[in-house]
């Protein structure tokens, strides 16, 4: 089975600035992927590269085994909601659906209709609330019955209730079609609820990638009195250290149980983990790959 989305040394430069660099990743089939990272981290660029809207400056990207730039036919299997869910504002809801029906070879009215029963078909898209527009955008991509769903900041502009509803509709649709989903968001809390796989981008590079369970299982927070750091048994690597008064807090990757009683060992939350990897000044120095069990770069 080919990976729904795979990149190898992928880079994209706009004029002189790299929006994305050295991006290598493989998204497992059926995963719900959270594409996290601060603003301008390269999330939108990665998704635009995956849809063929942009072409890579270097490296390769493959979507469902195909190069989206060369085989535009792959778009039939990809559902993409761009940032802000751009739609034709002068179209009515019914006309927007008609547009999708006519520009897609495969179109499932049932999926779309099921989502849109609450909307008046004659309303203009420009007059819809953000939540309803998100619902319409979701109906448009799910109606394609895509194998890969790419959502760029789908929660921006939605209030928490609408966001939750959107997520529920999304997960229902995905459960039905079995699609792989990539959700780009700079709000970790949004991703945390549903994602089982994480790709963290910062400054155009992949900082952390992996299964959420695995990542949380191999990272620990250690707290103890401030002291010079030697080796700690069970600790593979210190990702980040923070001093506050006489207290020392470490985020570490582990390769065994930590038994040293002078440390309080705690599990780490996803948000805390991602924030630690995001902060550029606290990055661990690059290590030879054989010592690194998880793929992180930077």
């Amino acid at each position: 089975m080919t990976a729904p989305l795979a990149a190898e040394g992928l880079g994209k430069r706009f004029r002189r600035d790299w929006a994305l660099r050295d991006c290598t990743l493989t998204i497992p089939d059926g995963a719900i992927v959270g594409l996290a990272g601060p603003n301008a981290a390269g999330k939108s660029t990665l998704l635009a590269l995956a849809t063929g809207l942009l072409g890579p400056t270097e490296g390769t990207i493959s979507v469902l085994g195909l190069d989206p730039r060369r085989d535009a036919s792959v778009l039939a299997d990809v559902g993409y909601v761009a940032q802000g869910a751009p739609l034709y504002r002068s179209f009515t809801v019914a006309e927007t659906i008609e547009f999708a029906r006519r520009t897609n070879a495969r179109w499932d009215d049932r999926v779309a209709d099921g989502l849109l029963t609450v909307l008046d078909a004659k309303t203009r898209v420009g007059a819809l609330s953000e939540g309803d527009r998100g619902r319409l955008a979701l109906a448009l991509v799910l109606g394609k019955r895509p194998r890969l769903l790419l959502l760029d900041e789908p929660f921006a502009g939605l209030d928490p209730l609408a966001g939750r509803e959107f997520l529920q509709l999304l997960m229902d649709g995905v459960a039905e079609t079995g699609a792989t989903v990539v959700i780009a968001s700079h709000v970790i809390a949004d991703i945390e609820r549903v994602c089982d796989h994480i790709v963290l981008l910062a400054d155009g590079r992949v900082r952390l990638e992996g299964n959420v369970e695995e990542l949380l299982g191999t990272h620990r927070i250690l707290m103890g009195p401030r002291r010079p750091l030697g080796t700690i048994r069970g600790v593979r690597e210190v990702v980040r250290e923070r001093h506050s008064g006489r207290q020392l807090t470490l985020l570490v990757t582990t390769d065994g149980p930590i038994v040293d009683p002078s440390w309080t060992v705690d599990r780490v939350g996803l948000e805390e983990l991602l924030l630690a990897y995001m902060a550029p000044e606290r990055l661990p120095t690059p290590q030879p790959p054989e010592k690194v069990p998880l793929r992180w770069h930077g």
């Binding site: 849809t51 809207l53 942009l54 993409y80 940032q83 008609e98 999708a100 070879a105």
Partner: protein
Amino acid sequence: MAWVTWRQHRPQLLAAAALLAALAAAAVGTDIPIRAAYHRDALSGCLPPSARSGCDLIVRHFQGEFDSWAAALRGLTVLPALAGLFIGAPLLARELEHGTHRFAWTQSITRRHWLLAKTSLLAAATLAAAAVASALVMWWRTPFDTLEGRMAPSAFDLEGVVVPGYALYALALGTLAGLLLRRTVAAMTVTLIVFAASRLAVLEFLRPRFLSPLTRTVVASDGGRQAGDWVLNDTLVDAGGRQISTAREDLAILHAQHAGIDPHTYLVSVGWKRVISYQPASRFWTFQLFEAGLFVCLAAAVVFVTLALVRGNPG
């Protein structure tokens, strides 16, 4: 795609239809007095090639009465440009401006197919509208064309097959400008400038040379104008064939006036002649086909570039 194109460009297509309807109404309305004067016995007896004495007065009377109308018609030169400004320029610029290309170009249909389908449908509509406008102008100008010919730019640019050619070129130009500039207003401005520049360049430098111009030598006193030709050059030469400057001509006329001789007779007596280079009226359709073909080829080249670039990186 036909439905998509119709839905997205409905306002422009309806506006074009309304514009044509208004044009037709104006043409019919203004045509009534013109035809009435034209069909008066005095004028119809004077239609070329008739050259009864006094006919020049009757024709001049008709022209004096209606030439300002024919001049106003020249305003329609901008008509083909409207296709570029209001259909071509927004075609891609509006999508790129609002980000809706990210929606349209990520459906199953490829963006080349999308663009090709839309531009060909819009081109067909533009061609039809331009052909109707051109036919209307030709019908309205019939009396003027009979009396003055239609080879001169004031008529040539508004009639025949060049009008659809111009419109097609403007449409293609607007589309490319929209893709490159990504802003509707900027694309409209650039389209207008480039369209006007290419029209002017062809008119000034190419059209006079489509076929080598004919020359005619007449005596200096002759007005030298023959209705229907497009006069490119009208110069006075002396007996030895050397060109005479306007200043020298004026001086000679002044000299004759002071001497109490009729200037016309004087110029003939010194052996001066007029050499007129012109494109004859008979070349009208040949030139129409040349120029229309040229603009259709330009349009095709621009569309080709647009299709190649749309695969690029519009983001």
